[in-house]
Each structure stands twice: as structure tokens, then as C-alpha cells.
Amino acid sequence: MTRYRIVPDALSASLSDGAVLLNLYTKRYFSLNDTGSRIWSLLEHQASEEEIVETLVREYDVEKPEAARAVNRLLDDLVAERLIEPTSV
């Protein structure tokens, strides 16, 4: 079960229709749509990748394989941008 932690250099602002993320170290910023914002909020609560997928399947009209691909892609992007990092827990 893969879990991630949000790095200390990451700032976020959740909005009604998405979220904006900043990385104070890389000086880059990103915007997320509503679904991405929901995933970020789950990461803030230390949800695992599997728990995030299950939550999206429950809350959105999406099949599990499609949700798993989308979550995995976003997590990869967030890791690449050094906004989150895998934890050993």
C-alpha cells in the first residue's frame, strides 16, 4: 500500500472548482481541476493510493481501472514535481 507525504515546500489553496499548488523550492505552480483537488485533499489526510482510488470510485461516476490509471498518473506527476514523496509507512 503506497502512501505519500506532502513535502514541506508545497503550498496549496483549495477552491470551489479546483486547487492551486506552489512549490517554494522549484518556484513552480500548478492548478488542479475539481477531481485533482479532491485527490490533493485526500493526500493531505495521508490516504494511500488505493484508498484514493476507492474514494473516487465511490464519489464520482468512474470505473475502478480508469480511476486507478488517473490517480497513478497524477501521483507520478506530483512526485516528479517534488510536491509529494512516497513514505515508507
Partner: protein, 181 residues
């Protein structure tokens, strides 16, 4: 916040933002000529309190390019005061300045050959502000609270993009007042 602030006849402020050269000062002067007090031409200080987001002016200066004399003939009276070292050939002009006003809305400006006002989402508006807010990237204890004030702004007022041609110099007040109609 990197924005011009102007105060509408109802006493509420509109923030005009966008990249350098997008027309903030020009449209601010067009509004000042029509009696709208100015909070600032290139920056306002935001405060979020119980009644909403308040914009504070902090620099009583408004400068516009002398090249605008084609549209604003009175600028020719200032020709001797032009700073020719300034690439935009700006001159200080008179305006009424206010100290503060509650914010009514925000407009992201883009120069264009046509005029079009369109609402934008809160997330798009915040991303626009973040792009210009270099102070946000200072890794101190205030970065998150600065970001939160900008978030509160875009969540509490309507936000628009305005593609504007010189035609707006004559009707920017009606454009803004019509934005929320």
C-alpha cells in the same frame, strides 16, 4: 497584489491585473478621467476581514504613456514632464486617490484587437495571480497566509478576463459596471 485598483461609483473597488504592459495604468487613467478614484496603479494591499476582502492603496501615483495623448489630449500639457529614459515614456497625471475600499471584482487584462469580457473560474483566476506574485515564493512563514488571502479574493468576488482594444478607453466604466449586470 500586482494590480491596479479603482473605485466604482458604488464605493466598491475593482482590481485590474495582468502582465506588465497589459493596460492596467492606461485603463485606470481612463476610469480616473470619468471620476473613479484610484487605489493604486500597479499594486494594492489586500486584507481579508469579516466583511470581505478590502483593497488598500499605498502609493498615490498614476503614470501613463504620453503616447496616449491621441486619446487623452490633455496629456499634451504634460509633455515637458515626460521621463524619456522610461521605455514607456510615462508622465505623472492627476487623479483622486482613495485609501481603501471593499473589493467588488477582478479583471485580468489582455491587450487585443477586439473587445471581449468573459467570466473565469476561481482556480484560473488564482493561477493568474500566483504567476505574478513573486512574493509568494519567498519561503517564509507568511507564504501560506499570503496565498490564502489571494484564494479568499477569487472565491469572494466575480473574476473576468477582458480582451481590450483602444475602444475600451471610451467605455471601460460601462464594461466594468455591466460585468455583473
Amino acid at each position: 497584489m500586482h494590480a491596479a485598483g479603482v473605485v466604482a461609483p458604488d464605493g466598491r473597488a475593482w482590481l485590474l491585473t495582468g502582465e506588465t504592459g497589459c493596460g492596467k495604468s492606461t485603463l485606470t487613467y481612463a476610469l480616473a478621467r470619468r471620476g473613479w478614484p484610484v487605489l493604486g496603479e500597479d499594486g494594492v494591499v489586500l486584507q481579508h476581514d469579516s466583511i470581505g476582502v478590502i483593497a488598500h492603496g499605498w502609493h498615490d501615483l498614476l503614470r501613463v504613456s504620453i503616447e496616449l495623448a491621441e486619446w487623452f489630449p490633455e496629456l499634451r500639457d504634460h509633455e515637458s514632464q515626460v521621463d524619456w529614459q522610461d521605455t514607456r515614456h510615462r508622465v505623472a497625471v492627476g487623479a483622486t486617490f482613495n485609501k481603501r475600499a471593499p473589493v467588488a471584482g477582478m479583471v485580468v487584462l489582455q491587450r487585443d484587437s477586439r473587445d471581449a469580457l468573459s467570466p473565469i473560474t476561481s482556480t484560473a483566476a488564482l493561477a493568474t495571480l500566483v504567476r505574478q506574485a513573486t512574493f509568494l515564493f519567498v519561503p517564509d512563514n507568511h507564504a501560506q497566509s499570503h496565498l490564502s488571502v489571494l484564494r479568499d479574493l477569487v472565491e469572494s468576488v466575480p473574476c473576468f478576463t477582458l480582451h481590450h482594444s483602444p475602444a475600451q478607453l471610451a467605455c471601460i466604466d460601462a464594461t466594468i459596471l455591466g460585468a455583473c449586470a
